[in-house]
Amino acid sequence: MPRGKKKLPEVSSGSMADIAFLLLIFFLVTTTIANDKGILLRLPPPPDPLQEQLDIKIPDRNIFTILANSKDQLLVEGEPFEGSMDDLKNDVKKFILNFGKPTPDGIEIYNSLPPQMKAFVNANGRNPESSDDPTSLKSIVSFKSARGTSYDLYVGILDAMNAAYNEVYASRVGITTEEWLSLDRSNSMQKEMYSRGRSGIPRAISIAEPD
């Protein structure tokens, strides 16, 4: 090159800062801080020795029993269960929305249901051998595990039971389960939706002590 050394063309780096900022802002917006999430459960209060144990008789038809043994085998409503957790969820949902012999409160709840849920009830429910209605003490989902049951299965069943309830609540207010779970209770409108979904149908999940 007789003309002498040519200067190397330089890339202008003035916009580096902008690029960096853009990246930073992108990550700022997209990062979700790992938050502790999980399945919430309320334990029953400890038995009070001074108080007489109230013996409330609940007919068998109003209790949906799930038993798990040490080999992780399931007994659902007295019969061995081989299906998936999704099937279990659907069984629980059918049980909750059975309306076999509704009380006045139950009839009121039934009348407040959206049409597609009424159709669901009429197609799957109305079984006199299953729960009366979804109100308090008329449908209880009970789960009993053994000491040797794996925690994985326990969580899976707890998840299925909660999923059934959440599905019922969500379809009552006409949203998907995902949307239901992300309802923000500090927002008054969403809180109203939340209490509307849950009103009259308590999450009656009973976890029995393993023996």
Partner: protein, 154 residues
């Protein structure tokens, strides 16, 4: 090429005045978002997956209980153990632990305390139910089984 040479008297330095700001911003970002891990977890923690997750609304009300097989099997054996803070405890000690945790909270919030159970998938239910019985005695009735979101297969 005189036309182009004219420009060469402009400064070619990168203005670095904004660099400190960038660094500071990054710094603040990580400062704000970092959660200090104050305990050294000594048990295996393969958290199960589930779909119906609830978020914890107030982090200050949460205390953690770790259950799993000890990582150091030669020292602690392979039976699942309960860990709180930095020590292994037995189920009977849980009442004391709950009470110290409750003391840290305001009086009005004490019964709102949430125990987050971080349990390994390979643990059997026996030890979990022991823990739960003790929690009932200690009147810490809100439990959160810590799980990871499972993407629904549909």
């Amino acid at each position: 090429m005189p036309k182009f040479k004219k420009n060469s008297n402009t400064s070619e330095d990168i203005p670095t005045a904004a660099l400190p700001d960038i660094i500071f911003m990054l710094l603040f970002f990580f400062m704000v978002t970092t959660v200090m891990r104050e305990t050294d977890i000594m048990v295996k923690q393969k958290i199960p997956r589930a779909t119906q997750l609830t978020k914890i609304e107030r982090k200050s009300l949460v205390s953690y209980i770790y259950v799993g097989e000890p990582k150091n099997v030669s020292l602690y054996g392979s039976e699942p153990k309960i860990q709180i803070n930095d020590v292994f405890i037995t189920a009977e000690d849980i009442i004391g632990f709950v009470n110290t945790e409750k003391d840290k909270l305001d009086e009005v919030e004490r019964d709102q305390i949430t125990m987050s159970m971080k349990v390994d998938v390979d643990v059997k239910m026996g030890i979990i139910s022991d823990v739960q019985q003790e929690l009932r005695k200690a009147n810490a009735l809100k439990i959160l089984y810590s799980t990871i979101k499972r993407v629904a297969e549909k």
